[in-house]
Structure formats: C-alpha cells, structure tokens
C-alpha cells in the first residue's frame, strides 16, 4: 500500500522532472524551510545541549585527569585502570546478581496483566493498586523498604513473633541485594503489567473463544496463544528491565545501603558516582560511564536480535 505522503513525494519528483510545479514558488520554499528549521530548533538545541554535548564532554573527560577545572590529557590510562580494577569487577558481578529481578518482574507482570485482561472480580481496583508504586519516588520506596526490613522493622517483628531470631538484612551484602530486588520488583511490576496489557488488548479475542471451544484451559491458552502473541511486548519489557538493572539502581542503592557494607551492594552506576565525585579526579568515573554506555548499547543490540522485536509475525 502506498501512503499519501509517499504518493505526494512521487508526484513532486515527477513535477520537478517535468519542470512544472504545483508547490509554491522559490521564495516561499525558502521561507518554509526557515520556518521548518525554526520549528525544530528548540528540540535540536535540547538534544544537542542536554544529550549529545554531555555525552561528548564525558568522553573528553574520560581521556583526562581532571578535577573539573584543570585538564591533563592521559589518553587511555583511565580506561586501562578501570578495566584492571578489581573493584570494578566485583561491582559488575553485583549488577549481574541484580539481574535476578528481571525474570521476577516479568513473571509477576504477566500474571497481573493476564488477570486484569480477563477482568477478574475487582479488576478496576486492582489496576489502580498495582500501578500505585509507580507514582511513588524511589526515595520513598527505598526508605519504606529500609524501614520494613530494618532490624526492628515489620519483617523482623514477624520473625521474632514466630520465635525466630532477628535478621540484620542490611549488614549482609547478599541479603541486602535481595531486599533491593524485592523493592525493585514491587516498584516496577505494575508499569510493566500495563505494557504487557497493551499487547494483550491487540490479540483477536475470537482466537481465545475458539481455543476455549476446543477445550483449551487457562494455562494452555496462556502458553500457546497469549505468550506468543505478546512476544514483542515481552521482549521490550525484558530489554528495559535489563537496562534498568545496569543504569537506574542508583536511587535505591543510595537510599537503602549507600553501596555497603563495603562494596557488597555497589552497582556500576553507583560506582560511576563514587569514582567521579568521591575523588579529585573525574576521569576514571567518566571512563567507567563511557564503558557502561558501550556495554549497554551492545547488550541492547544483542537482546533486540534475540527477541526479534522489529520482525513481523
């Protein structure tokens, strides 16, 4: 099917070839072009000023020893130091541990979205409740979970009431990671469920009806109809959650553990902050940020290929 825009392009091209024109004369085209440029200028300035310039500047900083005022070119030294730093390796492994949150978020999102899609009793209320964590700031969620899992918090209160020994969740790195993962899943699954629901609503309902008539139960319909039809949404949710795990845990970590004890809960994005602002040299922090940027880019391309998000069914 040829779109209207494409048809008009073909038309104007043929007009140009024929030396005739149905478009305004040359001065008008120039004026239109200026108006067009003026219209996109604010967006252009914002993209260049707030995205491209900072990225290029960070790249420049990564090749320097600098406190932000004086610059001393050191070439690839910062990159070499970062790649051989055992702390970076340890922190990267911490990030890998946080990836456990991805299947958990997707699992809960699918269950919730399917139940909401099937309009279970009270689905409108549940829809609001499940989305509520998304309107809370990360700081609020962090403080809330820190309080709930604190030594004298609600969880330990229950453990003590049941005769158990209180657990110090935040002084043990492994336990602290699990608490942060729970906070992540709790805060994220409502929004992800909405994304999946958008995919569910695009499925032809007659397919479900036919399958039901053929005797397919809830589980078989989910396995053979629902999941294959929301493959692209699932892929998208998977990708953004993996991205989130590497780039957006800062708030949770900052509020809940400050990366401790030691560096047991420090993530790469938090380490970028520590290296950049906890030192008199911004270079290593910038180099780590650039490496993280490249890693995330490659990881996203790989996931895109695996999930074949752009492919037609």
């Amino acid at each position: 099917m040829t779109s209207v825009g494409a048809a008009s392009e073909v038309l104007s091209a043929s007009d140009r070839r024929a030396g005739t024109s149905t478009r305004p004369s040359a001065p008008w085209r120039r004026r239109d072009r200026w108006i067009g440029l003026a219209a996109v200028a604010p967006a252009f300035v914002i993209v260049v000023g707030f995205m491209i310039y900072p990225v290029l500047y960070a790249l420049f900083i990564s090749f320097n020893k600098t406190d932000g005022v004086d610059f001393d070119w050191v070439g690839l030294k910062n990159y070499g130091n970062i790649l051989t730093d055992p702390l970076v390796h340890q922190v990267f492994l911490n990030n890998i541990k946080f990836l456990v949150s991805v299947p958990l978020v997707i699992f809960f999102s699918i269950i919730v979205s399917v139940l909401l899609f099937e309009k279970i009793r009270g689905w409108k209320t549940f829809r609001i409740i499940f989305f509520l964590p998304n309107v809370l700031s990360i700081v609020v969620i962090g403080v809330m979970f820190k309080s709930i899992f604190g030594y004298y918090g609600a969880v330990n209160g229950i453990i003590a009431a049941l005769g158990g020994t209180r657990v110090s969740f935040f002084t043990d790195g492994s336990l602290a990671i699990w608490v942060i993962v729970i906070a992540l899943v709790w805060s994220g699954f409502g929004y992800q469920a909405l994304l999946i629901m958008s995919g569910l609503s695009a499925i032809d309902t007659t397919v479900f009806e036919a399958a039901a008539l053929d005797g397919a139960g809830w589980w078989r319909r989910l396995r053979w109809i629902t999941l294959p039809n929301i493959r692209r949404e699932l892929g998208f949710v998977f990708i953004i959650n993996v991205l989130y795990t590497f780039t957006s845990l800062f708030g949770f970590i900052f509020v809940m553990t400050a990366g401790g004890p030691g560096y047991a809960t420090t993530t790469v994005d938090y380490l970028v902050y520590l290296k950049a602002f906890g030192s008199e040299n911004l270079g290593p922090g910038a180099a780590l940020a650039v490496l993280l940027f490249i890693f995330i880019g490659l990881l996203t391309l790989l996931q895109n290929r695996v999930f074949r998000i752009q492919d037609n069914d």
Binding site: W34, A39, G68, Y151, T171, G278, E280, N281
Partner: protein, 448 residues
Amino acid sequence: MTLHTSMARLRMAVAVVVLAALAVGLSGCSSSGAKGVSANEPQTLLIWDTGLLAKTNDNGTAKSDSFLHQAAKNFEVTHKNITVKIVEQGGDISANAAQFKAASIAGNGPDMRIQYTGGPTLSFSKYFVDLNDVLGKDTLSQFNGLNTVRKDYDPNGSLLALPYGSGTYFTLWYNKRLLKQAGLDPNYRPSSWQDLISEGKKYHDATGKPAFYVADLEGYVGAWVVAALAAGDLGAPAYTDMYAGKTKIDGPAMLKAYTTWSELFGTGLTNKDAGEVSNGDADQGFIQGKAPIYFSGTWADVGMYQKFKNTIGWSFIPMEEGAKYSDVAAGGPQVAISITRYSKHQAAAAEFLKYLARPKTQDLYVKLTQTEGSSNKQGDTSVIKNPLLKEQAEALKSTSTIVYPFDNVMPQSVIDLFYRMNAATFLGKTTPKSAVQQLQSALDAEQG
C-alpha cells in the same frame, strides 16, 4: 488578504515567537558572567552548612539554639540589603562533599560553605577564596587553628577558611546510673581499651544487655576509635605524617587499630543493629538507655547535661594496653567557614564573615552550643556554663598528646573510603589488612 497570505504571516509570527523563545532560553541557560554584586546592593547570601553551625527542625525551621540563624538575623539588622539564606546539607559527609563538588564544577554552588576543617576544606581549595586578604592580619592574629585550613597545611599557604571554635574531641560517654544498677562502679574511668572491653563484659554478664551503643552505619564511630587507637602508637603527628608520606597507612599501627576495632562487634557487647543505625540517631539511642557506654565524635555537652545532669561520665577514648602514648585526645578544630570563588556576592559574604569573626559573635556560638570554646583569643570564657565543657577544657590542658584525626587530615576521597572501610571491617565484611591497603592505595592515587 488571501488565506495563503494569512497562513504565511501566521507561520512567520510563529517562527519569530519560537526564535525569540529560543534566544531567551539560551540566555537563561548561559552563565551570566556578571561581575560581583556590591555589598550595598539588595541581595541574598546563600550558605550551605553541613550541620555544623545551624540547627533546624524537621520542618526546616530554625531551632531556638541555632547559632547561624541567630547570627544571620543579627547581621541582617545592620545590613538591611542582605538576606542570609541558610541551607542545611544533612549529616552524610561524603554525600555533602559530592553535592558541593558537583555544584562547584557547574559554578552554581553557595556563596559560603561551612564544612569540616582539614581535608574536607583542603580538597576544595580551588573553589575557595584566600581569606588572608579578606580578614586581614589583625583579625587573623587573634585566631587559633589557622594551620588546619591552610592550603597543603603550609603555614604560608592561602587561607581557605576561617576555623570556628577551639575544637572538640572524640569522647567516650557513660551512663553512671545504668552502671550502678548493674552493680558496677558508676565513677569508672577506663585505664585502657582492654579495660573498657572488660568493663563492658561485666555489664553484659550482669544484665544480658549490650554494653556499648554503637551507630556505625556510615562508619563514623570506627573513624573515631581507629584514629584514637592508632595515635596511641604514632603520637601527635600520626596523620599529618601519613599525609606527608613519612609513615604509611598500611603500616603496623593502623593495622593494629583496625584489628582491634574489627573485633568489637564480634564480642557481642554492642547493640545488634549497630551496623544499621545512623549517626544521626545515635545520641537518642544512648539517651534512651539502650546501653551504658557510647562513643561520640564531638562534645555533645548540652544534650548530655540536660538529660543526665551529674549521672553522665566521660573520658577520651582509651588507648590499648602497652601503647607508646597512653594519654591521647584525638580531635581539634572542626568547623571551617569558606567563601566560594564563583560567588557573585563575595563582598557581602566577606561582610558576613567579618561579622562572624568578631569575638562577641563567636561568644554567642559558645554560649548557645556549649560544645567548644572560642577560637578567638579575645573570646569571653565566662560564657562557658556547661560543667562538662569546663571539665573537658581542664582535662585537655593536662593531656600530653593531642592528635589531629585521620578524617580531618586526609583528602576527601580517602576520608570517604575510610568511613566505608570502618563500617565494613566492623561487620567483618572486609579484613583490616585489606582496609589499610585500600586506604594507602587511595591516598597514593590522590597524591599522584
């Protein structure tokens, strides 16, 4: 007028509006680059305080005994064109330093900043005005502690801040009433670190409760104890020598101090949540009677005396048995007031600083806080009313070794790591050996 013409004019108008908006936006984004505002013009002076001179309630209003707010109010009476705005940065030293650094690189930080003396001031030397010229020789000759805020600790270096207060020291508080209830001597004073642990064990055995109330989430308690203990082997120049490279952080003294510190939590004599309690909640836990012994980084005399009267005891943190220097007080001037180089209100900031430097203004500070004396030689000692502060001032006179602590001397990045290592070694998550090695590497990296 045709529709075509109207549309064209409309487009032109839109384009003009967009371009105008763009120009206005860009001019707003750019640095004004304006020269400093004269002290006589109406202006607002922005001060960032890291919880040292100002005290605020939870809703942000000033507490009645907030020195900085009172000083600002008095200053505004005689300088009607200047409004002093005070922003409290909160209690996390590392986060505060990061915020200030980010704001300073961007050139939009405060006009004045109040931070700790030593490393936390020297680390930002590029952003602070040299106060030698601002305050003048006559004023500065009246002040003690200037060496703690000079660039590179050089006696002739630029003066990066005004040291405020004569100093406060790491302290061990004990609740005499709780000790007495446990059948122990309420007037006990530890002769050594081992003696202190032994006394704690007696209390724990008698009551089954923790003997030490520790709030080491940020690693500050470790900073006080480790700094004091290592000074027992290294003496007064312990940390200035490390900074200068004459001794090593990963030498035996720091390793021993860290080892002693790392063993405390394992004794079971502390509160179980010691690794989770923030320093901001520490006083409260001790005052609530959760344990009889408590480490503090400052002379929190007002709160202690108000709550306990004569049932509170104190001593400096005791040294280990066999320490080369057995009589050590770790601490010194803590508060430093600086003016930023990028401030557009430097003249007004200088006026306010001169006002703060007056002997009578600092007397007001001593009168309100009662945690330290005046750093001004003309300070009025009669304003010291708190009996604890009087005792401490006397005790300090007879103390043979006074050490300026690690987390004052070192660069900010090493201090941040120090706190992190203190918390980690306390909980057994990092070994003392690894901690001192990491600290030495950090100092080496920082000093190039």
